[in-house]
Symmetry: C2
Subunit: 337 residues, 2 copies
Amino acid sequence: MTSNRKFILKKRPQGTPKQEDFELITENIPDLDNGSILIRNHFISLDPAIRGWLDDAPSYLPPVKIGDSVRATAIGQVEASKNNNFKPGEWVLGLNGIEEFSIVEEGGFTAHIDNSIVPSPTNYLSILGAVGMTAYFGLLDAGKPKKGETVLVSGAAGAVGSAVGQIAKIKGCRTIGIAGGPKKCERLIKDYGFDAAIDYRDKDSNSLGKAISEAAPDGIDIIFENVGGEILDASLLSINEHARVVLCGLISEYNTEHKGAKNLWQLIVKQAVIRGFLIRDYAPRFAEGGIEMAKWITDGKINFDEHIEKGIENTFDAFMLLFSGGNNGKLILDIRP
Amino acid sequence: MTSNRKFILKKRPQGTPKQEDFELITENIPDLDNGSILIRNHFISLDPAIRGWLDDAPSYLPPVKIGDSVRATAIGQVEASKNNNFKPGEWVLGLNGIEEFSIVEEGGFTAHIDNSIVPSPTNYLSILGAVGMTAYFGLLDAGKPKKGETVLVSGAAGAVGSAVGQIAKIKGCRTIGIAGGPKKCERLIKDYGFDAAIDYRDKDSNSLGKAISEAAPDGIDIIFENVGGEILDASLLSINEHARVVLCGLISEYNTEHKGAKNLWQLIVKQAVIRGFLIRDYAPRFAEGGIEMAKWITDGKINFDEHIEKGIENTFDAFMLLFSGGNNGKLILDIRP
């Protein structure tokens, strides 16, 4: 146990990331400083946000440096410790990297997790982690749904979107989901309880706008936006007065030269709000959200799916599933040897 | 006094309005029904919002019908009345039309104005009317400026923008104005007290973004947006965490196939908000805003300009000044014979 395979950023992607923008290297593990811990990462959370961290642009975290492991949330076990708060063998979650072993210095972000209360430790990367909490606080805190309102969710078959739809139903809203392809749309209705599903893949922006307005005869009060681009634009045409758009992600815009939102005028005439949402600042309230979410899961009110790929050597292909829509549920990479 | 010249909508403009989309016609004035009043319009407020009312699109007011006078706010005198609340000779303000005479039915929107307390009745179409109130409530209520914050205003030499900049200064903010051409930029500094002025005309989107970030070394806390398009996009790159974008107008996008906002991702990473603003719902609070604004004007803290064009036969050319940036101050059409 002295070598460490790391999935590093070799050069910054232009548009869609390519295999050659990254490299899987093997390094020796240096000795630990006092206060530091060595974590063996088992499961890596592959998230759209990672794409943003690869760009050299102003953001809420510094860009991943060329030559560094690509940043990602990971779950693992303490392998060695020079810190009294962490003992070898303990399970932890942290913002580490796509690498077999991570060294975290004193004061770094690492939290203990309790595997005895969840069916799988991976749940801390999905429904009980940032994904589930994004759905919970994004919808309830930023969107403020009221009973009887209509909630439109894009990327609705995704990890965040599917949870948003189910929480909105619990709160008494009518839910409309947008997803890519008939299979995903079927899952929206059957697995996640959406009242209506719209397949964007066979539609241009006009027919998408028409499908949305037909699915929302009373107009849309909340858009939970994961996708952006033409989908956001088409959705804006059906908003009601004082609508709230929770801007959680813009995955359609991250890799490509996109067209941009042309229907912002709807915000003026409807006195509506777009609120950019980051889960980061809600971390102190995760316990509150986790307790309620766990209750809903136990009561069978929330279904969630995890899509687990295997092998650090398959990182690139696994990551790209996010952009092709190839994953079914929260995308997680199992890098255990 | 039985004939009425009316500037009517002949067909809906595609993109930039053309002279032939309108017609100046002469009609006889019908007899008044009980409860109705006949108003002789003296001054017409020419506003960017009028462009939106010409489209057959969902909005906060129904589209102007083909064959109807183009809707506009107007000031005039009661010419004849079958309504006990209005007597001939009284001055009134209402959402009438671009026409010499308007008939307003009982319950229509018409308010008395008191010309004894203003230098000119046209002030009710500018600083003490919807324009001034848009600046006042848009900045203070939707933008919520705090002392020491940086406020960026686009269309800063315009009627709304120039007032926003001055109110922001009164509230202790640093103000940056964007306008078209060196003359307007000079007025921003000299007449409206902006701390910095940026001329967008000689800049592409990259150099505009650079100019904004240089003018706002501490970042931007509030964008008061009147223009949209590339200007909004460039501005978003410099926002601070929890920035507020007051979306008041998008004049650059009303007539042309535009590129759309591509930098909405900044809202996510900065947890920022775009709030669409309409002055309509603030009407009950106009007195509150008017009193404070009048005090600032008396104290010499707010300068405002009115650009008055003459003649209903010149309506089209006057209206188009809004889109070429040819007006200096609130654009008003004097249609007195």
